[in-house]
Symmetry: C2
Subunit: 140 residues, 2 copies
């Protein structure tokens, strides 16, 4: 290959998906960053701010803002770690969990429906390739 079309189409695909997710979670008063944090906690019970940053790919300064909003919406709680007082542990509140119980299955179903325009080989190959690219830079 000799051109940068792959980058173009990657950006386009990202934008397309991001837009779909944005519109989807907007109905619930969330933005994509907020949804990312809730999703991470939905699967992991408890995570430090640091761990969330690594998962959700938002720079630390932005993450503070996202977390603050989620706390003030009462979807997550934030407790200082006893072990390491620099660290803060995040988890869903009951309200937050109830929200995710409601929206995550729908979200997952919608996303799967989208990915199913790819056949299995295609999706697997793409996934492997994207993993390689994703390892290039420690995001922010």
């Amino acid at each position: 290959m000799n051109d940068l079309k792959t980058i173009t189409v990657l950006f386009r695909a990202y934008n397309s998906l991001e837009k779909i997710i944005r519109d989807d979670v907007f109905q619930y008063g969330l933005n994509v960053s907020e949804f990312g944090v809730l999703e991470a906690l939905y699967h992991k019970e408890q995570l430090s701010v640091k761990a969330i940053i690594d998962k959700v790919l938002v720079p630390n300064s932005s993450m503070s803002y996202v977390i603050e909003n989620l706390v003030s919406k009462n979807y997550i709680k934030k407790v200082q770690s006893e072990k390491d007082k620099r660290s803060f542990l995040l988890s869903l509140t009951d309200v937050g969990r109830k929200l995710m119980d409601k929206i995550f299955p729908i979200h997952k179903h919608n996303m799967r429906k989208i990915l199913d325009i790819l056949n299995q080989d295609e999706e697997e190959t793409m996934q492997k390739a994207l993993v390689k690219i994703g390892k290039l830079s420690k995001s922010r």
Copy 2:
């Protein structure tokens, strides 16, 4: 397939690449949106605002801001179309072209080096898959 890993890795890959490009063009006082506009005009000579928006995947309201900055940096010029006075035509200034002559080949080389961690089949398959996903939503 049954999970959303593909979306996760797509987001991660995008972030990774975007970060690399951001750091790259930052040296020249540009952000990624600005670079996108310059790149489009470097390949196309003249494009309307509308056409640029479709290429660069930035919402129209944001694009006004990006264009304004590029004009004030004297990298592009903006002329009202005679044919259709709603429309404005953009093109590189000499300064803008000189800048792109300098940075685009390096940028292209760097990007190609990154993509070359994929073998050809992999890149082709991924490209096809990404195109499908990119067609899902008219970006913004």
